[in-house]
């Protein structure tokens, strides 16, 4: 990986972040409704003097033109002041710091679950093409893509929490404070999020493996007398990995998006819920803050994917072929 590549990537990320923040800021600002009325309540606003209302607008910086407000927000972000939530009156950075671990834990756990399900299932489906396993896996992946998260979430809750009582139905416990209880609270939401994600990954693994397994070097490996495991994993899967890694990387962004719904269904206090609450309340500092973090996470995931290409296939020099 060369320095020029890293700098290019960073510049791209900054450009993307800038554009995303301008678009989001404009959208949030032109939404109908007045954040001042939201902050002080409509009845109260009716009894306040115009001076007091003007002062409240000034405190929120709403009396300035949009580009200046954006500039001030950007200046604040660069100096570590991400603003204060209009709705909760809490610092945006504090809110995000409190919520980010939940979303990260959920996403990572869902990512691990989906990978553990999808890759072995995809490999077996490819090796046993047209078998009952392949057909079942195909059916499951179709269902996984088609079924909405929130509905699957409710079904899983009814079965595992209400009927069987194996997992709690809602709530969050920090796994770093209470590991067992924490993992129990995260398991069902991660599974639901991971199952939906595993469908695409499994299909990709299957088709990638099918293609690789038909190559001459696989026949050669078999002819050399290697074990089926060595042929499949070392020669087959390793060569089939590149498209799988692409999907794995892209899915990180999807996972954060999916967490918006899953956090609401399972009552997890993550960034997804923060964003939803912020949007409904036209709480632009919060919406901007969350968009900024998610906006950073997606290019970061792409960057990590690029690095993973180089590890999976040493022929790829990151910065030349992948950039």
């Amino acid at each position: 990986m060369n320095t020029e590549y890293v700098i290019n990537r960073l510049l791209q990320t900054v450009l993307i972040m800038f554009l995303v923040s301008v678009i989001t800021f404009t959208f949030v600002s032109v939404l109908p409704g007045d954040p001042v009325v939201l902050l002080i309540g409509p009845e109260n606003a009716a009894t306040m003097t115009p001076q007091a209302i003007a002062q409240a607008r000034e405190e929120l910086g709403l009396n300035k033109p949009l580009p200046i407000r954006y500039g001030e927000w950007l200046g604040g972000v660069l100096t570590g002041d991400w603003g204060t939530s209009v709705r909760t009156r809490q610092s945006v950075l504090t809110s995000i710091r409190e919520r980010a671990p939940v979303t990260i834990q959920l996403s990572v756990m869902a990512w691990v679950i989906s990978t553990l399900i999808a890759i072995p299932a995809g490999v077996v489906a490819a090796l046993r093409r047209n078998s009952w396993f392949d057909r079942s896996a195909t059916l499951m992946s179709t269902v996984g893509v088609a079924v909405p998260n929130f509905w699957l979430g409710i079904l899983v809750l009814l079965l595992f929490a209400v009927k069987l009582g194996w997992f709690p139905a809602s709530g969050y416990v920090d796994p770093f404070e209470h590991p067992v209880q924490g993992l129990r609270t995260l398991f069902l939401p991660s599974m639901v999020l991971g199952l939906a994600q595993s469908a695409t990954l499994m299909r990709q693994t299957r088709s990638s493996m099918l293609e690789v397994m038909s190559h001459d070097y696989i026949r050669t490996a078999r002819a050399k007398g290697l074990t089926p495991y060595q042929v499949t994993v070392r020669h087959g899967l390793r060569n089939a990995l590149l498209p799988i890694i692409t999907i794995l990387g892209l899915r990180l962004g999807n996972l954060i998006g999916g967490s918006v719904v899953i956090e609401t269904v399972f009552a997890l206090p993550g960034m997804g819920r923060l964003a939803v609450g912020g949007i409904f309340a036209q709480d632009f500092p919060v919406v901007m803050g969350v968009v900024l973090v998610i906006g950073l996470a997606v290019p970061m995931a792409t960057f990590l994917t690029d690095i993973a290409y180089g590890i999976a296939d040493p022929r790829i020099k990151v910065g030349r072929s992948a950039s």
């Binding site: 003097t49 007091a52 009156r89 409710i154 809602s170 009552a267 206090p269």
Partner: protein, 557 residues
């Protein structure tokens, strides 16, 4: 100076002789009767009205002394949302946040479950009307805030001034403005001066604006107090608020009110509200035993009632829903057209389609939650197509017309809108729906639509509802009602300290509203709670205003 308690205060005529006569017979008016009804060891159960269908709540009744009360334990309650912005009752804005406030804070005057100011629950052990615009409050002795400081009369002046100041940004500011001055006589006596006689004020003081907060705690930082409100006098003390996850409070060992067992309330050691936005998931949490109380989806009520596994409590009338007419724009400026529409709305069908028949059919602007002031309005329009057609024929639009109506962008609003469209088609009135996020503004500010399909959450005192919605200067007078007779009735009701007289005024107002049809009242909302059987005293769930209270709950197992 006449020393009176809340009983004769509310029935208090203006002259001393009448007051003494009133005191002599023990109670005057409905307020007095209500107080007699709820005297004794504890409160009688009160659910604020009868929902169309609701099973009786189980559990031991509060006055049932044969059941030994068990102290201790933690109550887990599912809530749909975290507190909105602040746990300081003065600054909090969420309409559903009273359940948090009421555990930690108390008012100088607190109303009982009948909506009547009652010294039994109040931080003032007495309040006296010195004259129609002067009220004297005598504070209880030795009440401690959760920060360890002791409540003094000076704190009353501090709290009122704080709520009234614009910089403090209290959502209750407007309600407290009628208090023009607070004089502190000594550590236990404060005197309020009002701008004019105001019978609603005592009840209003029982709401957020009249809650007492430790000045010492507030002076440490108003914003910090929003998130860590350790400065009330209530039965529970704040422990933690984890955003979008939970709020926890624990027993206040210095609390002053006594339980039926003679020891200090509360019975519970701790309450935890778990924030669960989806009410189906909340119900699953109840069924898996993780929470004790939930607000179940209406669609599940039949199953829960038939199953008999849970206690169901209900409250009717926290709000009404219906339609506001724009009286300044044709064709809704025609009273006969408005009457035709009001008679064409099949309220029963709406209740069935939208609310699983769980709400109550509305007849007027005051709901059953207005308690002493509520009476069904006999002259209220009800579904009658023949009458609707009759009024349409009398209107300027005998062959029908079109009206525009803004609605919220929710699924519920769209369904109600579509139902009303169908109903009004039968009298040839075309209802054009305009779904908007800012649907109220279109009616209030732009004023180019004929109607607004919405509702109104009732206020603690009936004056709040009438003076805000149908008074010519009311903030929520979306339809631009300008009726001097109605304004006069509302003013007279506010200035009268005689509950019976007030009720008569409100009935007069309701008659005018039924005749003029400034709004269509279709249903009174109902709230339900399902609780596990280990929770006792669930009959005391809802206060007079329909907000939850847990101060006398206890757990049996």
């Amino acid at each position: 100076m006449d020393r009176i308690d809340e009983r004769n205060y509310w029935g208090r005529p203006m002259r001393r002789r009448n007051l003494l006569r009133a005191s002599g017979i023990g109670a005057v008016g409905l307020a007095g009767a209500a107080l007699i009804g709820c005297g004794g060891s504890s409160d009688k159960s009160s659910n604020g009205g009868d929902a169309a269908k609701s099973a009786p709540a189980g559990g031991a009744k509060p006055a049932d002394k044969t059941v030994a009360i068990k102290r201790g334990g933690k109550l887990n309650v599912a809530v749909g949302a975290e507190p909105l912005g602040s746990l300081n009752p003065h600054r909090g804005q969420g309409g559903g946040d009273h359940k948090f406030f009421w555990t930690m804070f108390e008012g100088l005057v607190q109303y009982n479950r009948e909506g009547v100011p009652d010294t039994k629950y109040s931080l003032a052990e007495a309040f006296e009307a010195v004259d129609p615009t002067t009220i004297k409050f005598t504070l209880r002795q030795g009440i401690k805030y959760h920060d360890g400081t002791t409540m003094k009369a000076e704190d009353v002046r501090y709290n009122i001034a704080k709520v009234q100041s614009e910089a403090y940004k209290s959502a209750a500011r407007a309600q407290i403005l009628p208090v023009t001055k607070v004089d502190v006589v000594d550590d236990r006596t404060a005197i309020f001066k009002l701008d004019k006689p105001n019978a609603a004020l005592l009840t209003i003081l029982g709401d957020r604006g009249g809650q007492m907060v430790s000045p010492t705690a507030l002076e440490k930082g108003v914003e910090a107090f929003d998130r860590k409100p350790l400065g009330g006098t209530g039965p529970f003390k704040f422990v933690e608020w984890v955003s979008d996850s939970r709020v926890r409070v624990q027993k206040n060992p210095d609390y002053w009110r006594k339980g039926v067992d003679g020891n200090a309330l509360p019975y519970l050691d701790e309450i935890e509200w778990k924030v669960i936005p989806d009410n189906n998931v909340a119900l699953a949490s109840l069924e898996s035993g993780e929470v004790d109380i939930v607000a179940p989806p209406l669609s599940e009520m039949d199953r829960l009632e038939k199953g008999g596994q849970y206690q169901i409590t209900s409250f009717v009338g926290s709000s009404w829903s219906g339609m506001y007419f724009n009286l300044k724009l044709a064709p809704t400026d025609d009273v006969n057209l408005r009457r035709a529409i009001a008679y064409a709305i099949d309220r029963e069908a709406e209740n069935k389609a939208l609310n699983f028949n769980r709400f109550q059919i509305a007849t007027g602007i005051l709901t059953p939650a207005a308690k002493w002031a509520y009476e069904p309005v006999p002259t209220a329009p009800k579904f009658d197509l023949a009458k609707a057609k009759e009024y349409l024929a009398k209107s300027k639009y005998p062959n029908g017309t079109k009206i525009t109506c803004t609605i919220a962008t929710s699924q519920e609003a769209a369904t109600r809108g579509a139902l009303w469209q169908d109903m009004l088609k039968k009298i040839n009135v075309q209802l054009e729906l305009i779904p908007l996020q800012t649907y109220t503004n279109r009616m209030w500010v732009v004023q180019d639509v004929n109607a607004l399909q919405a509702g109104f959450s009732i206020r603690a005192d009936p004056d709040g509802t009438l003076s805000e919605v149908v008074h010519s200067k009311g903030f929520y007078n979306a339809g631009h009602v300008e009726n001097p007779q109605l304004d006069d009735i509302i003013a007279k009701a506010r200035e009268s300290y005689d509950t019976k007289e007030r009720k008569k005024y409100y009935q007069e107002a309701e008659k005018i509203l039924a005749d003029q049809v400034y709004d269509v009242y279709s249903t009174y909302s109902a709230q339900f709670r399902a609780s596990r059987k280990r929770v006792q005293n669930v009959d005391l769930t809802f206060g007079a205003e329909g907000k939850e209270r847990y101060d006398e709950f206890w757990l049996n197992g």
